[in-house]
Symmetry: D2
Subunit: 328 residues, 4 copies
């Protein structure tokens, strides 16, 4: 039988992403709306183990919907991977009277939540927050849309100077395992080539592509490279390789790094976070557990966390084709 | 039998929206890729009637993917509503050797295209370009996502000064017939109330809502109002009404206007435009006609234009509920 | 003899402007650095009269350097114009142990400070915070640079849609008495005409100018109008006049309004605020009073408040000439 | 005797910077206004040697005032350092009927112009265009203000994620020889420490500073490092050093790179470019030569190029002091 839920904990875990604050705000206010209590847990599972809790009311989340980062902080926590750690966390939650929690994070955070939910028959609900868009069960993760905009704006700036000097730039963007960011910003910024982990273009085809681009009369070339791409060892090696084998190019490198994780969330991410927060709370109140809320066809859907963490997102091969056509 | 297509015309029509240039680029390059010719038609149907054509090659659309507005210009054209006007347009297209066209625009532009396609058995394909997101057959129209971001950024700025002075702002955003922009930016900017054409809140409930907002301890209030809302006559009248009946507020008004139509498109709009342009060209080459390309569940879909112009988009009532919860 | 200063009050007053928070932060931390106490006074003179004080330490101003608005709120206060009001304020300051204050605001706020300083021999220092750049004794006021950037970015967006439709826009920007914003954004956005209070262009010359602009082959026209301009009654009347007398134009209007007061401050405004805050505190500690800190030739200067409020800023006539040349 | 000037060449040279296009536009239109011809020279001195010229009229510079980069392209040119190269350039200019030129660039470009002016008694005028602000004879160079804003916006984003994880970031910004960018964005972004070439802080004092910052309760630390700083070998070495000697910190690195050179210019840079372009043309027409236009105390001033290239800009030591105070 479902325990009646009177107090919900909320926290952010793993790498932060824009929209996490908007999701926290939504969880908190949905609790207030449904007349239950809400407690913020600082630094994810670490704070759960340390009992770093703070009651949240509707006003405590004023003016955060448009802020990057997470007011509840985030951390990775090794201790939660141990049974002792989880037991300590559970005891703290019970002591605080917390009946359920909403975790905002990625794959690793969800794995922890799933084990915890099973171990203690504790109601949990996940909200996918990561810029990488690599979580099964949702078309878009929180922060992904914002990161895409951040990156295309930066590439637009780099294009300005690349065009002025007829240069070639290798631009590394986030994506250790998946190429969603690289592929979309590559199309969005009109990149001449896009290198993603899902597809090994090969150095020969890269050179061919760059030769064609030069021959076509373009004044600059941008190659977007996902972190996890294996065509070259990394963007610096790619630069060296091209300089050696295709000396017609003046080559530069840019590694965008952590700026991709920050910034005010886009409207889409704010709305998505707002919807997901309410959905997560209401699902818990309806007795659901161990699920992740996602968006599909612009509607909220739920996926068992066990499926979400086992599933894989797939790259949009049709978009790769579109990219090839447009770089003509 | 389908006439073989060797030359495609492309134009923008009606109110412009961010992403139109990206769509033009995509149509042009998809033509080049498929080894057919592409002709730009200036100022929509007006230019078609006047024969204002320009051949486009791959390089003619360099560096426009990130530009607002439309390099092909746009206009409304009364003459195309007459049989004579359309006949003149048809003659010009045939003289130029144009076998099909892609129209980027909204409802009115599609109506013209549909009549033209029927009248002359001429292959046409539509791409939905409007910030209003009011076209049946696509979850998102080109420019909508960008407009949402433009508006939330502006409201964020207004919130700064509203909070400093504990003020109430009525902010008018675009949307003569539909409240999609208002509802989404309202949620995204954390507006205290949202007034849309689809729902007449009523002045009494508006006052109640504002009283509750003040009582809850908020330091400022933002009410987002769609142009077409009928709660008050307009934002200026709303201001007067509230000043008279709820003098606890210091009220200001802001009408955002045409800035909402401009600006560099968001990554999402650039990618959507890129996909739609290729899809439209390839659909024509496959013998399709009189259809509109749209996006649903992140995939390209096609809807007969006759259905697109008769159908209606519906406001997301679930999002209205989310908004009510979050303004607590 | 100078009283030794152990506790300084700081507040913002009048219309808010970006950079005020950065200035508050600077005043607070300069006090901490010099080992004196700092007290925030809410809502300007109103809070002084009501005793709405809050001790500030170095951490209380964390993460505000990049926030628009003012965490200390702002207000206009009629009561401070009375001797009784000022006496009440003085009593509250003394009770709180406040020996001096820094006021961040504009002309009106400085006038109050000057009278107060004279009346009670109380050390005060002014920091010019207003987007209008209309304060004598400083080349730039806090928030002015940010407002210029906000406005040119918006006009860039409007230009996109104006060009797409070959339209003429009248854009009203802030500046009731002075045309600094209008003139600079007009030049910066490449406006075809600029209407400012300092110069009555006259409706005839406006029409001539617009005719020339059209004849020169420009695809759109932007006329920037300062609020206080007297060429037409306002932008709506200007629209009507041009529609009547120059029907070649499709005319639109945009009133930018309060968004100009908000937003994250530019780097220049943040640095200027940081410098001014330290300078103001150190001047008080050196025994200075009744002065305003300003910037001239990139250096901090001081002007007696009595001179600052009597003086006038003058429009840069050379820049008007540059504008005329560039709109050719 | 001054040769009457009937045709002026204009070009950009060296590293590009935002505002160069605005300066080109200003030079071109000032020529049109004064009824003389203007010729664009592509790729700086390289295009001069190759005769890569293009006549410019008022409309050829439409819609570029807000674009980063340079429509005339830029390049470095070794050949111009030889007498033969310069002779070839001179012959080309005379053949084209060009009587004088305006060079928009930095130190190196000015050195070439100065030699050329002396060698051929050819009228030249310089406009300082570089983001580094390292040119003697002007308080601000074109592009510097824009770069400052670009960088603080990026650091604001990095701060979001740094705060969420309590991390320390070393952020490398441009400035091989001078620390103007680093110092100003450091103050503007509230950096905990700023490392510039003009001052060797020393690794010990860096550690002390970081320890103090941690102890003060700050949730994140940002250290801005100019490229040319010598405290550590580079940001990667600084990271390693701190990780080794101050393991309380989780350290990350970000190298901002070329994005700093691009982007739409700020209003200030657009206005400055507009003023400088007109001033440069009018100075040539008055018979001036071998000078650089600059801005001082918000007024146009002229400095002999020979002095500009020998002089040094000095870091604002008062601002270093302000920075030290504010990081308390």
């Amino acid at each position: 039988m479902t325990r009646s839920i009177k107090k919900i904990g909320v926290f952010t875990s793993g790498g932060d992403s824009p929209g996490m604050n908007a999701a926290i705000r939504s969880v908190v206010r949905a609790c207030v709306y449904h007349k239950i209590e809400c407690v913020g847990i600082y630094r994810g599972y670490q704070g759960m183990i340390e009992g770093d809790f703070k009651p949240m009311d509707a006003r405590s989340v004023n003016n955060i919907i448009n802020k990057g980062g997470t007011i509840l902080k985030s951390a990775r926590c090794l201790e939660f991977k141990t049974a002792e750690g989880r037991k300590q966390a559970y005891d703290n939650l019970r002591k605080e009277g917390i009946d359920a929690f909403v975790v905002i994070g990625g794959d690793g955070s969800f794995t922890g939540a799933h084990i915890f939910a099973q171990e203690f028959n504790f109601p949990v609900m996940g909200i996918p927050g990561t810029i990488d868009n690599d979580i099964y069960g949702t078309t878009f993760t929180l922060g992904y849309d914002t990161a895409l905009n951040t990156v295309v704006e930066v590439i637009d700036k780099i294009r300005d100077t690349a065009s002025s000097h007829n240069r070639l730039f290798f631009i590394e963007v986030m994506g250790r395992d998946v190429g969603h960011i690289a592929l979309n910003v590559g199309v969005g910024a009109g990149a001449e080539e896009i290198l993603i982990p899902e597809e090994d273009l090969g150095l020969d085809r890269l050179l061919d592509s760059l030769k064609r681009s030069k021959a076509s009369g373009k004044s600059s070339s941008i190659v977007v490279v996902a972190e996890g791409d294996t065509t070259g060892e990394n963007v610096f090696e790619l630069k060296k390789y091209v300089e050696k084998h295709l000396p017609i190019y003046d080559v530069r490198v840019s590694v965008l790094g952590h700026m991709q994780r920050g910034g005010a969330p886009s409207c889409y991410d704010r709305v998505l976070a707002s919807r997901m927060g309410v959905s997560a709370v209401e699902a818990l109140l309806k007795g659901e557990s161990d699920k992740m809320v996602g968006v599909q066809d612009n509607k909220m859907i739920f996926t068992p966390i066990s499926k979400a963490i086992k599933g894989h997102t797939v790259i949009d091969t049709e978009l790769i084709r579109v990219s090839d056509i447009l770089t003509i």
